[in-house]
């Protein structure tokens, strides 16, 4: 097992955001966390990458306990994150953003740069443009490309489809698949459950800070409860109170 999250609790002040979440990610997998707004998906990801502190529980990565490790050291250990929304550096050029991705590394990153530009040809066209002036989709590409610059073992993606047109979502998801094929394990947080379940190997369904279901993704696609709550299966519209 490459990444293991064991019964983590996280609090914002006195409010419990995560109430005992356990997630496992094996090498080579794409695992997705789906759930509605406020279910704790982003908090889980932020806790894994070290941006939020734990109240209790443990996180193991590559066999080591990283629960107390600061965020910037987790990058060196091999956890790369593309932050939520547009977590890029708006004032820096596309190229400088990518170089920031390799900040913790030393040596030559020409190979990774070339790979990022190959995966996202749009970024190569815009390499000297200020990142903040690009479209949402391009910024998302940049965020993923930048995370890859650190050569992560596990890539943490926070809602890569947020605010993007359907065509762009397709494009981004096929690139994520390609990244996974090239050997990077992916942990994907998504509200777009349909797309995420099609892409992922396994999935966890989160609700108000707890895991309510975990199964192979294909199985969840057919699950009537999940269909009703997240895939617009019809029933969910009639009985919203049940899931909310």
């Amino acid at each position: 097992m490459l990444l293991e999250v064991k019964d983590i609790h996280v609090h914002y002040g006195k409010i419990a955001a995560l109430k005992g979440i356990s997630v496992e990610v094996n090498e080579g997998e794409i695992v997705t966390l789906i759930g509605a707004n406020g279910a704790g998906k982003t908090t889980t990801l932020k806790t894994i990458s070290g941006l939020r502190g734990l109240t209790s529980g443990k996180i193991f990565f590559d066999g080591k306990d990283i629960s107390k490790m600061p965020g910037h050291k987790r990058v060196v250990a091999g956890l790369g994150q593309a932050p939520e929304g547009r977590g890029i550096f708006p004032g820096m050029t596309v190229h400088d953003n990518l170089l920031m991705g390799a900040y913790a590394r030393s040596g030559n990153f020409d190979k990774e740069l070339a790979e990022a530009y190959e995966l996202f040809p749009r970024l190569a066209e815009r390499r000297n443009q200020a990142a903040g002036t690009m479209s949402g989709g391009e910024q998302q590409m940049l965020a993923i490309g930048r995370a890859l610059m650190a050569k992560p073992k596990v890539l943490l993606l926070d809602e890569p489809s947020m605010g993007l047109a359907p065509l762009l979502v397709q494009q981004i998801f096929s690139i994520i698949e390609e990244i996974n094929r090239r050997g990077t394990t992916v942990l994907l947080v998504e509200q777009n459950a349909q797309q995420a379940l099609k892409l992922a190997h396994r999935a966890y369904v989160l609700e108000t800070g707890s895991v309510v279901k975990s199964a192979p993704a294909a199985q969840l696609l057919d699950d009537p409860d999940v269909r009703a709550a997240y895939l617009g299966g019809g029933l969910g519209h009639e009985a919203p109170g049940e899931r909310a």
Binding site: P83, G85, G87, P90, M92, M100, Y103, A104, R105, G132
Partner: protein, 389 residues
């Protein structure tokens, strides 16, 4: 942006001419730049001349106000710019470090009789330490919260000094020694006092010019250091923290450590200026270190173009010089000063000489000081971008 609006058009033209100059400068070969730098330093040394003084400050002694407030503000603004402009940490209590430097000079000079140069070095160390002491507990806060805590710190230092009788209480400290003088300086057979009418290393009470030259020397050293930091890995880390602190952390930047470093460096520069200022002014008291000074220096940084050193220096110069220039108008001078500040914010909201990176950040409505730490929409950002933060 509405191009038909004459105000917006004027603003854009101003911005465009700035871009042209900047591009030109970026492609200037190194040796030509050095000529410009040396010309600027010589220009700074020639500044306290009576011939321009009659225009620049008809009501006060030009050489005196060149040291304080103008030179002092410029150096303090360079220090605050490291914290606010580069690392994007809103510091409203910068005067505290200036005060620590001033009191270090006063106490070590009067009680222990130390030499100015030793106190300068020790004072810088003390201020760096006090920057770290303040930073360690507070730099976990962000934006407005950090601003409030630093504001409190500035007041705590001043009030503690006022209430501590051992360091003079409200009366402050008198009889602070001047830097050691070397009178009748002869260099390459030139007697400076006879040739130029000034003894550049004679630190007395009457002539402010030697202190001003010392300030220029200090500023040159500080500018070189700050520029080198800006272009190094440290500078890139600061820029990343300013633009998106969480993203910086997940890129592997030890954000907390670099924020502390920015605080320590800013504090050291403020402290060095405090030492120099106390060495000239003979006596200091707690009221020299009011909150208003912090606010004024911050105004200078923001108005000049936070993050861009020439802009910040120009901003500090204007903020210091305008009220002195219009001293003849008595209380109306503050009205003019205020009107100029308002006009500047209308025509150049990003500052007089903003850095290009800064401008892009401001457009996004993100990026530390681009929004003064608070995540509110910028002039051209859309609501949801901010809401998603």
């Amino acid at each position: 942006m509405n191009e038909k609006n004459p105000l917006a058009r004027f603003r854009n033209q101003l911005g465009h001419s700035g871009d042209v100059i900047r591009d030109r400068w970026a492609h200037t070969p190194g040796w030509q730049r050095w000529i410009v730098y040396i010309a600027l330093i010589i220009g700074a040394l020639l500044l306290p001349s009576e011939s321009i003084g009659s225009f620049m400050s008809p009501d006060t002694d030009w050489a005196s106000i060149l040291f304080f407030p103008i030179g002092t503000y410029v150096l303090l603004a360079i220090g605050l710019n490291v914290v606010v402009g580069q690392a994007g940490l809103l510091d409203l209590g910068f005067v505290a470090f200036y005060a620590v430097g001033g009191y270090a000079m006063a106490l070590l000079g009067t009680r222990l009789g130390w030499n100015f140069w030793i106190i300068l070095i020790v004072g810088i160390g003390i201020c760096a330490l006090s920057g770290i002491t303040l930073g360690a507990p507070t730099l976990r806060l962000r934006g407005d919260y950090l601003a409030i805590v630093t504001l409190g710190f500035g007041e705590i230092i001043r009030i503690t000094a006022r209430n501590t009788d051992e360091i003079g209480g409200p009366n402050g400290i008198r009889g602070i020694p001047h830097p050691p003088s070397y009178e009748e300086l002869n260099l390459f057979g030139i007697n400076f006092a006879d040739t130029f009418g000034v003894d550049p290393l004679k630190y007395g009470v009457l002539d402010p010019r030697p202190y001003y030259y010392l300030l220029v020397a200090l500023a040159v050293v500080v500018i070189i250091l700050v520029k080198r930091w800006e272009k190094s890995r440290v500078g890139r880390a600061w820029a990343a923290i300013r633009e998106d602190e969480d993203a910086a952390e997940v890129m592997g930047v030890p954000t907390f450590r670099f924020k502390m470093l920015a605080f320590a460096i800013g504090a050291s520069i403020g402290g060095a200026m405090g030492v120099l200022w106390a060495a000239k002014s003979i006596s200091i008291n707690p009221n020299d270190f009011q909150f208003l000074l912090s606010a004024t220096i911050l105004a200078a940084v923001v108005m000049g173009g936070a993050g861009n050193l020439p802009g910040v220096m120009l901003g500090a110069f204007i903020v210091a010089w305008l009220p002195e220039r219009f001293r003849g108008l008595q209380e109306y001078r503050m009205l003019i000063f205020g009107a100029v500040l308002v006009a500047l914010m209308i025509f150049r909201p990003e500052g007089l000489l903003p850095s290009r990176q800064r401008k892009a950040e401001l457009k996004e409505g993100t990026g530390g000081m681009g929004t003064l730490g608070a995540e509110v929409p910028g002039p051209e950002s859309r609501g949801e971008e901010v809401a998603s933060k």
